[in-house]
Amino acid sequence: MLPIVVNVVLGMLGLALVLTCIRLLRGPSMADRVVALDLISTLAVGMICVYAISTDQDVYLRDAIVLAVIAFLGTTAFANYLGKGGQP
């Protein structure tokens, strides 16, 4: 039962990734792209968790921690740079 569910969930997450990439490519403003990148990193954390379940290796959860931290830092830095309009 679990392999079927893992395949279904990975398919849903892949479709969500495709939809988010469409928004990333055609987002009218820069902030739209930042929102799409934030959602892509969240989707990547979810995929890492599914992969850890499907391979029975719990070490992948540490990658999820690191990716969550780096995604928050990246989003914050990008928003800070965007809000100041490039001025220091």
């Binding site: 039962m1 679990l2 569910v5 893992v6 279904v8 969930v9 849903m12 997450l13 479709l15 969500a16 990734l17 939809l19 988010t20 469409i22 928004r23 403003s29 820069m30 902030a31 739209d32 930042v34 929102v35 799409a36 934030d38 959602l39 969240t42 989707l43 954390v45 979810g46 968790c49 599914v50 850890a52 379940i53 719990d58 959860l61 540490r62 999820a64 921690i65 969550a68 931290v69 928050f72 989003t75 914050t76 928003a79 800070n80 965007l82 809000g83 100041k84 309009g85």
Partner: protein, 134 residues
């Protein structure tokens, strides 16, 4: 057996919420509405995934790590969303043409800092025509 069922249910819950988040990011009309889908629904979905892995492994270390990730996501997702929203407003991202109220109108000066403007400046109670912030 029961562990498998609970894990599958949590994974499907999380995946459906994350799919809804992606669909909302693609389909909703402007950026301030899109951020609702991306931050709230996405965070709920990924917390479902992480709790599914915690149930599947069922060890103390893994559960502690999973709870750590969930708490971290719940603390940082609103902060990141607030930063993105403020940056979008400062750069003048257009609002939906059917938006009703823009309480920050005229309260940012040219350098992007928040003025101490008079209290009544912002609210422009909209009729049907709406207005987009420039």
């Amino acid at each position: 057996m029961i562990t498998t069922v609970v894990t599958s249910a949590l994974m499907l819950f999380g995946a459906s919420f994350m799919f809804l988040a992606a669909l909302g990011v693609l389909r909703l009309p402007d950026i301030y509405i899109r951020m609702h889908a991306a931050t709230k629904s996405g965070t709920l979905g990924v917390s479902g995934m992480i709790l599914a892995s915690a149930v599947h492994f069922g060890e103390l270390g893994v559960t502690t790590r999973a709870v750590l990730i969930v708490v971290f996501l719940y603390l940082t997702a609103p902060v990141a969303a607030h930063f993105i929203g403020r940056a979008a407003y400062q750069t003048g991202a257009p609002m939906w043409d059917r938006s009703v109220v823009d309480e920050l109108r005229g309260r940012y000066n040219a350098k992007g800092a928040l003025d101490s403007a008079p209290e009544t400046s912002g609210v422009s109670s909209g009729s049907e025509g709406g207005d987009s912030s420039s």
